[in-house]
Symmetry: C2
Subunit: 332 residues, 2 copies
């Protein structure tokens, strides 16, 4: 989707993929090589004006090496923070952004102590490489810390206070190299089994809450001197907001912009990292975005036959449970 948007505004994409795949080839040009293959990375960097990412799980050393040759946006120092839930929370706290109470867990003893402090419940999350609910364990009253820690894989983690939130919203924001900021309207997200299922825009929330979310996103962008699109997920608890997590890239909860805005999050990201002026984030339509997860893809014909629904498939050849195969944007 980044390639399609880039091409639309005259930008060619050279994609770098770390392993062979039967999925549709991304980019106008493709390098398939390991993320620690220095020669391949150098050859790749020599062909492009700027490097960006579509996942935060790229080794920071790789990004640093690329940064010596060509601009990387967002910068490696931002990605490094976001890759680690602890660094992320510390950064957010330093920026004055509210997060759920949490503790650092490097052992079963840490876990037992922190769970007790948090009132007997919490969510244990690995610091690194978690997404779509992976690397997360819920802890309830009576659960044994030793067992949980061992089942969890004993990886460095944080445990978060269980937040009984009213709903989750996200803000997709963009910042240009000259410091201009554009934010799409906040979307209201519905998750099941830790995976985003639908995003609704407008969110239906009190505009004051939406404004508060925008203010927080602005603060994050500016603390980082960030360039590109940033996704920020919030828990809404009454009239309060807690930041759940942030993503230094286009975000699933921003896919609705393809149908709701003339300039979508993908084009906005390309504009930002290419040093072009940002587009308007104005919304012309109300949209529901529905993810097609795993066997949801079996309902494809029904989606293709739905009025005002635009289907986006990702060219993944193999359907697996929990795998995001595509999404549908329905204009209301």
């Amino acid at each position: 989707m980044l390639t399609a948007s880039a091409n639309r505004i005259g930008v060619d994409v050279h994609a770098y993929r770390p392993s062979e795949s039967s999925d549709r080839s991304p980019g106008n040009q493709l390098t398939t090589a390991s993320l620690d293959d220095i020669d391949a990375l150098k050859a790749f960097a020599a062909t492009v004006d700027v490097v960006t990412i579509e996942t935060e799980n790229i080794p920071v050393d790789t990004l640093r090496m690329l940064e010596e040759i060509v601009p990387v946006r967002p910068a490696s120092r931002v990605v490094e923070i976001v890759q680690d839930r602890l660094f992320e929370k510390q950064f957010l706290q330093r920026s004055g952004v509210p997060v759920a109470d949490y503790g650092v867990v490097d052992s079963a003893a840490d876990l037992a102590r922190e769970i007790e402090r948090l009132g007997g419940t919490g969510i244990l999350k690995t610091r690194r490489f978690g997404y779509d609910g992976k690397g997360q364990s819920r802890i309830g009253p009576g659960d044994d810390a030793e067992t949980v820690w061992s089942d969890h894989g004993s990886a460095p983690s944080v445990v978060e206070s269980f937040v009984s939130f009213d709903c989750e919203i996200s803000v997709i924001a963009a910042r240009s190299q000259t410091g201009d900021v554009a934010m799409f309207d906040p979307g209201k997200n519905a998750h099941r089994e830790g995976i985003l299922r639908e995003t609704y825009v407008p969110s239906g929330l009190d505009p004051a809450i939406e404004d508060a979310a925008r203010d927080i996103a602005q603060r994050i962008l500016e603390s980082h001197d960030y360039v590109g699109v940033l996704g920020v997920e919030f828990f809404v608890v009454g009239n309060d907001l807690l930041v759940n997590e942030m993503a230094p890239r286009v975000h699933n909860s921003g896919h609705w912009t393809q149908a709701g805005c003339a300039v979508d999050q993908f084009e906005q990201h390309v504009r930002a990292v290419m040093g072009m002026p940002l587009g308007s984030a104005e919304r012309h339509s109300d949209v529901v975005m529905t993810n097609l997860i795993g066997n949801d893809i079996d309902d494809l014909d029904q989606h293709l036959a739905t009025s005002n629904a635009r289907v986006h498939l990702y060219g993944k050849r193999e359907t697996r449970p929990g795998r995001k195969m595509g999404h549908v944007n329905t204009i209301l």
Copy 2:
């Protein structure tokens, strides 16, 4: 744009391009070979489920050869008709579709005779390979038939009565393999120097005229047992319609559907030729489509900065006068 739409609904594209080009490579896979290279055509045909075209100027022999291996949609017999202005007019007349008065011109003497019959004025058009005003000569009172014929290149032609039309509209229609038909709302077209500049939807015309245009498009689709998207251009003269020409493919005057409809003309064409059900042609927004012709591309920054405008560039490296470099869809 066909590739992007095809990919979006899970269809891969193998493009066949007759010559090397510095323009962005089309398709997910590309064969560059001459249109009379039998071996290359056979190898290409062996890799695909169906062949379609994005220009009608493909040798019919090429399409016939491909048809022996794999379905070609629309069929070669339709393309053969549309490639030749005389065959096209004869076909339209046989289908009971009104066209401007015309005569067949194979010599200066034919031209002199037909111009006199048409009242002293007319437009001379080569039967084959004309587009964007190319291969056309206006003839006014006092013009010398010998000189016009010679300047025109003496190619087999038709001369059409000069129609003093109120406006031009077009209907983008699609027909599936099972005979279902879906038509987008008619757009009103503005031309300059023989080239489409803008399309406006809605057209602002009397709904009765729009319905008449739809009826004619339906008749054309059914006469041909057509499969795919068809563009039909009409002159509106008072309450009457004349068909100017038809295109057996996605059409420039249908580019607005990318911003106005969930399923645009490109996806609709892919659905039709792939044997999938057609999508709804429902329009959710009013749109103005503006072509970027030649140096219009110099105004790119302004378009990129316009609210509710989505820019589509075609990846052409070289700007030439009269060359279509891209278009902008503005949602109203």
